[in-house]
């Protein structure tokens, strides 16, 4: 992630006629990470991952970077409330998890230590899906939009 471009982005948001009132509300909440759409908050979340999960692998960092870059790109296109409910964890196999628990179901991005990562959706009623991706072939924009679509 670039170090200085976020300052210009912040300036743009505060002057935007359409986005200003929505994002002023977000700025005033004062919560961390995905509760605020500021680019430097997303970068702080990235740093959080590195600090919290000391066994995080190089592959996981690459996948995570791609995902968080796309989150930055799509922030202005989606309901900012959907950014608030992202959680993260790491299981005993070392899989890094980004997930959302919504009224429709449970959505997980499961990033293995190497080779591949997966998208899992478990709907409250009948629908489930599980798909696997490689770093080279994944369409991260599509994946992140899907992550927020439920």
């Amino acid at each position: 992630m670039e170090n200085l471009s976020h300052l210009g982005f912040q300036e743009m948001l505060s002057e935007s006629f359409y986005a200003r009132s929505t994002y002023e509300d977000q700025f005033n909440i004062g919560k961390d990470a995905f509760n605020s759409p500021l680019v430097n908050e997303v970068k702080e979340l990235y740093n959080q991952f590195i600090r919290l999960y000391d066994t995080i692998s190089e592959f996981q960092i690459k996948v995570l970077t791609n995902i968080l870059n796309e989150v930055n790109e799509i922030k202005l296109k989606i309901d900012p409330n959907r950014l608030k409910d992202i959680e993260h964890d790491m299981n005993e196999d070392g899989d890094l998890l980004l997930f959302r628990n919504t009224s429709n179901g449970l959505i997980n991005l499961i990033i293995h230590e190497d080779e591949s990562f997966a998208f899992s959706y478990i709907g409250k009623e009948n629908e489930t899906s599980l798909e696997f991706y490689s770093l080279e072939e994944a369409d991260f924009e599509h994946l992140v939009l899907k992550f927020f679509s439920f």
Binding site: E87, D89, L106, I110, S120
Partner: protein, 177 residues
């Protein structure tokens, strides 16, 4: 072998005349000992080698009570109940034609085929007749704690498929074949 844990009620002991349950019915209840972390996101917490549960009911007959799954049944542990755990109740919603839960998962990696089965098995032990588990067999080898790192853990897609299946059960509170 007899149960030597004094705090376990006798109704839960595996006496010589108690039968192994080999068939289930829709509506049967399985009790699972869970954590809040697991209920929030089963992917974060489900182990693939210690999937012990209790049969709560079988073919309309009560086998155990909800709280029974919180009993500690390991002699080496120095406590009677898991006070930091909660009970997750799973209801059987569908079974195969043999009245069992049994699923097969296949993955091919580096031109090697891996076949993994997941089955609900009644596994009575001296202090807990209702004890059951989801047994995982990978290419004819039963996956247990001691061999997990050398078997299922190495095949990431397969372990994620199994975890997805178990996570679906916990999330929806149901077992479906």
């Amino acid at each position: 072998m007899e149960c030597t844990l004094q705090y376990i009620p006798e109704r839960l002991h595996n006496n010589i005349d108690r039968e192994i349950i080999s068939k289930y019915s829709v509506g049967d209840i399985i009790y699972r000992r869970s954590s809040e972390r697991e209920l929030n996101n089963p992917f974060a917490s489900i182990s693939l080698y210690e999937i012990s549960n209790n049969i709560g009911s079988n073919c309309l007959k009560i086998i155990s009570l909800e709280k029974d799954v919180l009993y500690n049944i390991l002699k080496d542990n120095r406590f009677e109940t898991y006070d930091d755990k909660v009970v997750c109740t799973l209801k059987i919603k569908s079974l195969n034609e043999d009245c069992q839960y049994f699923k097969v998962f296949n993955v091919e990696k580096n031109q090697i085929k891996y076949k993994c089965t997941l089955a609900l098995i009644h596994d009575p032990i001296p202090c807990m007749y209702p004890h059951c588990l989801f047994r995982i067999i990978l290419n004819n080898e039963v996956v247990v704690k001691d061999n997990y790192n050398d078997t299922l853990k190495r095949i990431k897609e397969l372990r994620t498929k199994i975890r997805h299946e178990l996570a679906t059960m916990v999330y929806r509170r149901s077992i479906e074949c």
